[in-house]
Symmetry: C2
Subunit: 84 residues, 2 copies
């Protein structure tokens, strides 16, 4: 739960998730969407991966990232448990 909230606590990482919702993207494609260096994006992707919010698969020299929405159920449940 800690890793999850931590991963969501950054506008760039949240933006990355929004993009991955539309379609899978390579690390490079993701980097091109932002005005920060590739290593910085790589770091953000690692944090998303640690939270299990994204998965990655090597495709030749590329690495394709995809979103994993099942983890979001935990956040959802946590929030709902507060509201009621």
């Amino acid at each position: 739960m800690n890793n999850l909230f931590k991963a969501l606590n950054d506008p760039i990482r949240r933006e990355i998730l929004k993009h991955l919702r539309e379609k899978d993207l390579t690390a490079g494609e993701i980097a091109d969407l932002f005005h920060i260096s590739k290593p910085s994006i790589s770091h953000h992707l690692e944090i998303l991966r640690q939270a299990d919010l994204v998965g990655s698969e090597k495709k030749g020299q590329f690495i394709v990232y995809s979103i994993n929405t099942t983890v979001l159920d935990d956040v959802l449940e946590w929030i709902l448990s507060l509201r009621k």
Copy 2:
């Protein structure tokens, strides 16, 4: 949205919200639930307040804090928009 995720990104603040869900509490009562100093708790409460996750009302020399769950709808919606 930034303040919201920031506020939720701390186990103590999340714990405070859980307690406030049960009943309103004074700053002192909240502090007694944790093993950190009162100024630290005061700081956490300020961050929750900035996110509008809690409200406070002065009752004599006490300050009573209460949870505000309506803001959570925004988080909820954000997460749901990712899943679908």
